[in-house]
């Protein structure tokens, strides 16, 4: 058993180590651009995904404008839109479907998944399991740059003839099999970003299994690490199926094969000129393959954040997480069930009713582990001494919106109800409640919680709280009315609702939603302002600003190359808050029994000494 390491000891180590590692000086390129350091990769994922968040949000506001004021020119930026797709600044149907497609694709593949697993996976895993870096640092670098390349390929679609991919983010054939160059670029981008996911997932699984600090058993890992670990398994097993589906779609597009092209299909697309499809393919086959990945993908997008929210809630309620093992088994159950429910996206595609019923039942069963998690979170905050930090408010916001999103999910799990609300705004409301209200709030919670560790600066709490309130209020005002539109039969992905008489009474709702969406969109700029301000002028973060227990708070803020100043050893589970026998209300994992942590101030001066 190695001797426990006190902070004062490590102070000495820093100086001796300093000269020794002098020759490791990295150039600008290896340090900031092609870095293999997991923290730099996490920062790269975070900043590029936040940039894509701006793009995806802008696309959403453009299409919201068209829905609220069909046929009116887009103010301010309308004149800059190309004449072909937006004559006199009015969004044409062709552009509109590109906007919906690219909004969803960007948000799912380039914002939520990279933030949920790219940012938190890279940031949390090595720090929380007490190791120096990922198991395969070079694969990590490759994973980020594949993602970045995919982002460029996807965005390039807007600048080619015919515009970007325009068959919805689901890319159903035959429409997606006869697209132009933009559609092909979309397929290539999805393939590349999928490959990036697989490499990332493989790295996370290996790191968690192989690089845990001495003393850390699997059931000593924080829930964030558990959630990301299980998510990685989903990515590794699910994403390749999407890759094989889009490979076939790529063949259909480029080589004019007929994997997904049925017999006797008449195509009016300008791109179909001279295409001679042999036919005989199965369009619905693509839907099966696509949802075999994309249903687990919605859990890829939410499970890591469930872990993050658990850690945040436990820390700021100053209470152990309620039902630690139940939480882990619930995540496992959700992940497993995620693979056997994909058919519920296809109740309308033509399916044996018996099979539909099977999918319906397996889908409804997911409510059980989800409810276990929600009740455990409530049990965690119940009678806790709750600190209303921004991170905690975001986490509470996550629970509130996730409950609404989860309940509307049970509606569409039920086949008879789903047949009525299929492809309406009810679905749009549901996915935004789980992906924006769930995932993005969880991501914000994680960003506010770990920003001090990642960048060494404390984000502004006052502006953080303003960001939360504006986002939470206008999020609900934007997306809750969509339930009403959906039940009224308002279809998704339609260019102009006013062409349908029965949708005309909903026009005031559409206008209201758009105005709220614009405010929601602009209130996200608070976060960007906060990050930029903090980065330059923010106060330095102490080593453990939240008095949390997990290992990342043992490393200096920001952690140096190699993360910890001395090897760490784990002595207890991650959620030992408010133990009655202790003076402090927390008991960190790295403290040996009987050892006392030296105050934060020494740590701050220590980080300064290293420069």
């Amino acid at each position: 058993m190695s001797s426990p390491v006190l902070v004062s000891d490590t102070h000495h180590d820093v100086h001796t180590d300093h000269g020794h590692h002098e020759h490791h000086k990295q150039s600008f390129i290896t340090k900031y651009i092609f870095s293999t350091d997991h923290k730099m990769v996490a920062k790269q994922f975070m900043l590029s995904a936040l940039f894509f968040l701006l793009i995806g949000g802008a696309l959403a506001l453009l299409l919201r404008w068209q829905l609220a004021y069909p046929g009116e020119a887009v103010p301010l930026i309308g004149q800059f839109l190309p004449e072909l797709i937006a004559s006199d600044g009015v969004i044409q149907p062709g552009l509109f479907i590109q906007l919906t497609t690219m909004h969803a694709s960007v948000m799912i593949f380039f914002v939520i998944i990279p933030l949920a697993v790219g940012l938190f996976g890279n940031l949390c895993i090595p720090l929380m399991i007490g190791t120096d870096d990922m198991a395969l640092p070079f694969i990590n670098l490759l994973s980020f740059w594949l993602y970045f390349l995919a982002g460029i390929v996807a965005a390039a679609g807007f600048f080619v003839q015919g515009g970007a991919g325009a068959s919805g983010w689901t890319g159903y054939p035959p429409l997606s099999a006869i697209g132009g160059l933009g559609q092909t670029l979309w397929i290539v981008a999805v393939f590349l970003v999928g490959f990036s996911s697989i490499l990332g997932g493989m790295n996370y699984v290996t790191t968690v299994l192989n690089k845990r600090a001495p003393g850390m058993k699997m059931f000593d890992m924080p829930l964030s690490v558990w959630a990301i670990f299980i998510t990685s398994v989903l990515m590794v097993l699910g994403t390749p199926v999407l890759a094989s589906a889009v490979s076939m779609l790529f063949f259909d597009n480029v080589l004019h094969t007929s994997f997904f092209m049925p017999d006797n299909l008449t195509v009016a697309s300008p791109y179909a000129n001279g295409m001679k499809h042999s036919g005989g393919g199965q369009p619905i086959l693509f839907q099966h393959l696509f949802w075999f990945y994309s249903h687990p993908a919605v859990y890829i997008m939410i499970l890591p954040l469930m872990g993050v929210v658990s850690d945040v809630l436990s820390t700021f309620s100053r209470k152990p997480i309620y039902g630690y093992k139940a939480m882990i088994f619930a995540i496992m159950a959700i992940a497993f069930l995620g693979f056997i429910v994909w058919g519920h996206h296809m109740f309308q595609s033509g399916m044996n009713p018996l099979l539909g019923t099977t999918f319906m039942l397996s889908t409804i069963v997911i409510a059980v582990p989800s409810a276990i998690k929600v009740f455990n979170w409530l049990g965690t905050i119940w009678r806790g001494s709750i600190r209303y930090t921004t991170a905690n408010m975001m986490a509470l916001g996550f629970i509130a919106t996730f409950i609404i999103g989860g309940l509307s999910g049970v509606f569409m799990a039920s086949a008879p109800v789903d047949i009525y609300i299929h492809d309406t705004y009810f679905i749009v409301a549901h996915i935004h409640y789980v992906l924006f209200g769930g995932s993005l709030f969880g991501i914000y919670a994680g960003i506010y919680y770990w920003f001090p560790k990642l960048f060494g600066k404390m984000l502004n709490e006052i502006w953080g709280r303003r960001h939360f309130f504006w986002t939470f209020i206008f999020f609900n005002l934007t997306f809750f009315p969509m339930h009403i539109l959906g039940v009224g039969g308002h279809m998704r992905r339609i260019h102009d609702p006013n062409v349908y008489d029965f949708l005309k009474p909903f026009q005031p709702w559409n206008e209201f939603i758009t105005i709220m969406a614009i405010i929601l969109g602009f209130s996200q700029l608070i976060l960007f302002g906060n990050i930029i301000y903090t980065w330059i002028w923010g106060p330095k973060a102490p080593k453990n600003p939240w008095n949390a227990n997990t290992l990342e708070w043992h490393a200096p803020s920001p952690p140096p190359h190699g993360n910890f100043l001395a090897p760490v050893r784990v002595y207890r589970s991650p959620y030992e808050f408010s133990h009655p026998d202790r003076a402090d209300d927390f008991h960190p994992q790295w403290l040996a029994p009987g050892e006392v942590e030296i105050e934060e101030t020494t740590t701050v001066s220590e980080t300064q000494n290293t420069h």
Binding site: F251, L255, G562, P567
Partner: protein, 203 residues
Amino acid sequence: MSGLVLDHEPVSGIPHGKLAMWVFLASEIMFFTGFFASFIVLRNANIDLFTNSAQALNKWLALLNTIVLIGSSLTMALSVLAIEKGNKRNFQLYMTITILCAFTFLIVKYFEYTSKFSHHIYPWTDLFYSYYFLTTGFHGMHVIGGIIPMVWMLMRSFTKKGYHNHVRVEVLGLYWHFVDLVWIFLFPVLYLMFPTSYVPPIH
């Protein structure tokens, strides 16, 4: 920069690269599972087309390729054994044979492809050939992806420093056996699947 390099043994007892390769192979299995699942669906919907078109494939060339590839798996395993024992000469010998087998496989495949093209059979000709070119194409890319590190390791072993990273050779071996295994599934699926009652058309 104070760098801490934690060099303790892998917790699971399996080297990082090897564990990651197993995870990656699980992913690869799912990738080809997508294709094989599609095969079941597409073939059942077009049973006549699939049985007829499959007859035009040269199953003897494919059998040759199967033998070549299984042989290369054997020599790959022997070269892993050789490098673990530090037998440099045997490692070089077996690795060279493996590379030659891999190239033989690709050359035979090249002749199969060109003979199809010369008969005006292309990926878009019919669904069976779409599937044939798709799966053999992806498999061929996996073969190339195996050849590159093999050649690199072999060339390194001829340098003065030599090549001693036996874990990497073993990891590459795992990958190579997987590539072999995919072919063992593709061979019967593409070349040998027709009903026993099938009577070949008289030309």
